[in-house]
């Protein structure tokens, strides 16, 4: 008799430590994969698992091996059908040969594996240099609050819904014709009446009949319970995310020719980060994409990031379009409005005044938060050390910045510059949580 050990209940993920070591090893490659995902995918898509190709750099395990392109060797193969000694067979192209081992390298090419949501976010955050507390906040799934949602047939005794239970019990009692208390009382009363009368044969017979009837009714009442386990209903609770509100996020971007690949990539990360933040706080988020040259248009995400359009730059058109959309579709009473604008700072000279006016008079009253990033060349970043000077749009927005605390602006040249734009937003978060 052998020893049996049932290991099925042992902790799983025995190789988790190895996985972590592997991910750390391949970090740079994986980061590049995630960066590509951000570049090609939608801004709402980051926040989940992703399949990534096997990293190549830093994960090969070298050892001394034979060079297949040199020397003389012999292959022993089964299944000869027509060959005789001395026959010559042309080599197939590529030189692998019949006898070579099955190509693990081939299948490793399309070998992809899945990174969990946390791992994806970690890799995304790395470039952005987010503080740890913020990272934790963004990675956390929301806390849930139970909310009443109908009834269930099973549950804890404390959750019994008495009204619903009694209604079921009543229906069942009627359907099964459970004798009512009144009927029983009535027969008992008749018996008592008859027993008071002088006893004749007819009366005695009547009493016996009534007693039998009473007996039958009571048996029936015992058999058909007043409240049966099948009647019982429980209150059902559904976990609901705590901040239960809607938010709309406006992405505004200048798409004139001066915005190149690098600029758009940075802008996209800026939008992704805001979106991530909003998904943590709001149950439902809509994203509106507005792009503009000298005229603004609401577009879908694909067009927003990948279509270029030529034309001048009139920023106020985008702000007007945003204002129009808010009025039409997103009443302030129901929606939390966030806006993120990315631009290279070019604007039609006389238009900046109009922008100030639009923001100051209309938009800033409606928005929870308005973040503006100006994407500049890395070489320029140290020249524009002081925030005073700059493009016309920058100077104009500077005026708004001083006036409204929920307005943030920043020049960015690298991914790590993005986070400070939102610093205010993230810093406010714990306070908001408490009040929520």
């Amino acid at each position: 008799m052998p020893i049996f050990i049932d290991r099925r209940l042992n902790p799983k993920d025995k190789s988790l430590g190895n996985r972590q070591r592997f991910l750390r090893r391949a970090r740079e490659d994986l980061k590049r994969s995630i960066r590509d995902k951000v570049r090609t995918g939608g801004i709402a898509e980051l926040d989940r698992e992703h399949a990534v190709p096997m990293p190549r750099k830093g994960t090969d395990e070298p050892s001394f091996g034979d060079d297949r392109q040199s020397g003389r060797r012999q292959h022993i193969l089964p299944g000869n059908k027509t060959f005789s000694p001395g026959d010559l067979i042309d080599k197939p192209g590529g030189g692998g040969g019949y006898g070579s081992a099955p190509g693990t390298t081939e299948s490793e090419d399309d070998f992809r594996f899945v990174l969990s949501r946390e791992e994806v976010l970690d890799l995304f955050f790395e470039d952005l240099e987010l503080p740890d507390l913020v990272k934790l906040n963004l990675k956390q799934i929301l806390s849930f609050k139970p909310r009443r949602a109908g009834f269930a047939a099973s549950g804890a005794p404390t959750n019994i819904n008495v009204g619903r239970t009694m209604r079921n019990s009543h229906g069942r009692r009627i359907a099964l014709r459970r004798p009512k208390q009144a009927e029983v009382d009535e027969i008992a009363r008749q018996i008592a009446e008859l027993e008071a009368k002088p006893a004749s044969a007819a009366v005695r017979e009547r009493i016996t009949a009534l007693r039998e009837e009473l007996e039958r009714l009571e048996r029936r009442r015992r058999r058909i319970a007043y409240v049966d386990p099948v009647d019982i209903r429980f209150n059902r609770f559904d976990p609901q995310p705590v901040p239960n509100a809607n938010a709309v996020m406006f992405c505004l971007m200048d798409v004139s020719g001066s915005m190149g690949e690098r600029e758009k990539d940075l802008a996209k990360r800026f939008f992704v980060l805001l979106h991530l933040f909003l998904t943590r706080r709001y149950e439902r988020i809509e994203v509106v994409f507005i792009r503009h040259t000298h005229q603004a248009k609401e577009v879908d995400e694909q067009t927003f990031f990948y279509h270029t359009e030529s034309g001048g730059t009139v920023v106020s058109t985008a702000l007007e379009e945003m204002h129009r959309i808010i009025k039409e579709r997103y009443p302030v009473a129901e929606w939390n409005i966030y806006a993120a604008q990315a631009s290279d700072g070019d604007n039609f000279a006389t238009d900046s005044e109009r922008c100030i006016e639009l923001l100051d008079r209309k938009l800033m009253r409606l928005c929870q938060y308005f973040a503006y990033v100006e994407i500049i060349d890395e070489r320029e970043s140290h020249i524009f050390g002081s925030t005073e000077n700059g493009t016309s749009l920058w100077r104009a927005y500077n005026a708004v910045d001083g006036k409204w605390p929920n307005f943030q602006m920043r020049r960015i040249a690298a991914p790590a510059d993005i986070y400070p734009v939102f610093r205010e937003l993230f810093a406010r978060q714990p306070a908001l949580r408490k009040s929520a």
């Binding site: 290991r7 190895n18 060079d67 020397g71 012999q74 022993i76 089964p78 060959f83 006898g99």
Partner: protein, 514 residues
């Protein structure tokens, strides 16, 4: 008698298994194996695991315990990918050469499959591990689990103390040399016992604790005969190097001048594990053949005695034929010779030669043909051979014809292959020899040795690669591996390619050129 009454009973019915059934089946199979086939096995420990745990076990080279390293994580992801994609099923079982012999059974298996696996692993592999001379001499089945436990703990402590990166660097380098980290020709020193290791560790710890930096600041003692003492030590050390040395990891562990004690211990751990697996790689055909032959024989006997239902037997046979399927060379599924198929066919061939030999068999195998004692012949072969010698000894012309084996000569600089031998009178001996040759690990892996090191001078480590049949090393991986050797050695390393026939130097690669 009770046994008489039980004889007609089925051992199990239905496809679900439970521990009572497993135990009943095991007892029956063990009795059959030891009595009918004369098997001699370690006690068995059967562990039921889920598919995820099987994947876990895959990634740690099949061992229940393993230290942590990123390459195992990579293996896991790769295995998981193939499994999820459906490109590859999981093994039904995994068996570990230890005492007691650990057999993993997958919980998804049906009862018929569990019976098959029990006969295959718990009897077949187990007998082979216990009796084959390679395993007996070169591995320590009783000590391997406690050694792995020590290794895992030791490396985890090193990670804590010296950091993940430092440990990883040493492991990477040592892993690159695993192929060159075995003793091929002389027996490895026995694993030191637990106590000895404990003593060694205590001594190291004592040295670390009592280390005082003050000693370094003392002025060197004057006028002593120090240089002479140094000369003596160095001369002695050079003598004790015992060059040439084929086990690079052993050489580096003992002689590297830059490794710290803990780094030496890690190199040693990798070397011990490489050595432990070396017999398995030399006996693939025999090991799988033995297990397959045993399960096939036992299952058929059980069926003949009416202990297994026809339905279960059909399932067993279907799985059996999947395992021993051998496509021909022009089949898209062909991926080399299936060791299960070759092993089983050869062993059944021995059975045939013993019982109903032809005139040809009497010619080729006068010792065993017609003797009828195939059990003894097989037990003897299992105990005393490895793949190479087994094929050289027992591959019969009948089997070569059945498999229609042929040999292709492949010169890298020629535009075509040449058919060198086929399954005819002139080819039998050559095919047998060529096939045996291809299973000789020692001959088919690059032969790299330490030939010289000038410890007194620049400490330049000279390696030599004996080039056989003009087969050179692949350049990129060679350079990467040399870099790893340099990491472990700390000084210049060079690798010369020497033609084994003529002794001419074909090329030389220095780490400073990298």
């Amino acid at each position: 008698m009770v046994s008489q009454a039980r004889k007609s009973e089925l051992l199990f019915s239905g496809s679900d298994w439970n521990f009572a059934k497993l135990s009943r089946v095991y007892d029956e199979i063990e009795a059959l194996g030891t009595e009918e086939l004369g098997l001699d096995i370690y006690p068995v420990q059967m562990e039921v695991i889920s598919s995820e745990q099987m994947l876990d076990a895959y990634s740690s080279v099949g061992m229940p315990l393993m230290y942590r390293h990123w390459s195992f994580g990579k293996r896991f992801l790769y295995d998981e990918f193939l499994y999820r994609k459906g490109a590859r099923g999981l093994a039904y079982e995994l068996v570990i050469n230890s005492n007691p012999c650990i057999v993993y059974l997958m919980e998804e298996n049906t009862m018929a499959l569990q019976a098959l696996v029990t006969a295959h692993a718990a009897l077949g592999h187990n007998h082979f591990f216990k009796n084959n001379h390679l395993f007996r001499q070169w591995t320590d089945a009783g000590g391997i689990l406690s050694y792995l436990d020590f290794a895992k703990g030791y490396i985890a402590r090193c990670e804590e103390r010296h950091g993940l990166a430092a440990v990883e660097a040493i492991l990477d380098s040592a892993h690159a040399l695993m192929e060159q980290g075995v003793f091929r020709y002389h027996r490895p020193p026995k694993l030191s016992s637990e106590q000895q290791r404990e003593g060694l560790r205590e001594r190291l710890e004592y040295e670390e604790r009592s280390f005082s930096d003050l000693w370094r600041t003392l002025p060197p003692s004057q006028g002593k005969t120090k240089p002479e003492v140094g000369d003596e030590i160095l001369a002695e050390r050079k003598k004790s190097l015992k060059l040439p040395e084929e086990n690079l990891l052993y050489f580096l562990e003992k002689n590297s001048l830059v490794l710290e004690p803990w780094q030496r211990e890690i190199v040693r751990i990798v070397r011990v594990i490489a050595q432990y697996f070396y017999p398995q790689r030399q006996t693939q055909v025999m090991n799988e053949g033995c297990a397959t032959f045993v399960h096939y024989t036992i299952m058929n006997t059980l069926f003949d005695r009416g202990r297994i239902s026809e339905g279960a037997m059909l399932e067993i046979l279907r799985n059996h034929s999947n395992v021993v399927f051998q496509p021909t060379y022009d089949d898209p599924r062909y991926s080399g010779i299936n060791p299960y198929a070759l092993g089983l066919d050869m062993m059944q061939d021995i059975q045939r030669i013993s019982t109903v030999p032809t005139a040809e068999d009497r010619d080729w195998f006068p010792d065993i043909a017609g003797r009828g004692d195939w059990r003894d012949t097989l037990l003897d072969a299992w105990a005393n051979h490895r793949d190479e010698s087994f094929i050289r000894q027992y591959l019969s012309p009948a089997l070569i014809r059945k498999w229609r084996l042929f040999v292709l000569a492949d010169g890298a600089d020629e535009p075509h292959y040449e058919v060198a031998s086929i399954h005819n009178e002139r080819g039998y001996a050559r095919i047998r020899s060529a096939l045996a040759q291809s299973y000789d690990i020692g001959a088919s892996r690059p032969d790299i040795q330490v030939v010289d090191v000038d410890l007194l001078g620049d400490r330049h480590l000279r390696l030599q690669h004996k080039v056989k049949d003009g087969i050179m090393l692949e350049g990129q991986s060679r350079d990467a591996t040399l870099r790893h050797i340099r990491n472990l050695w700390g000084y210049e390393v060079s690798l010369a390619a020497i033609d084994a026939g003529t002794g001419a130097t074909l090329s030389e690669r220095w780490t400073k050129e990298l």
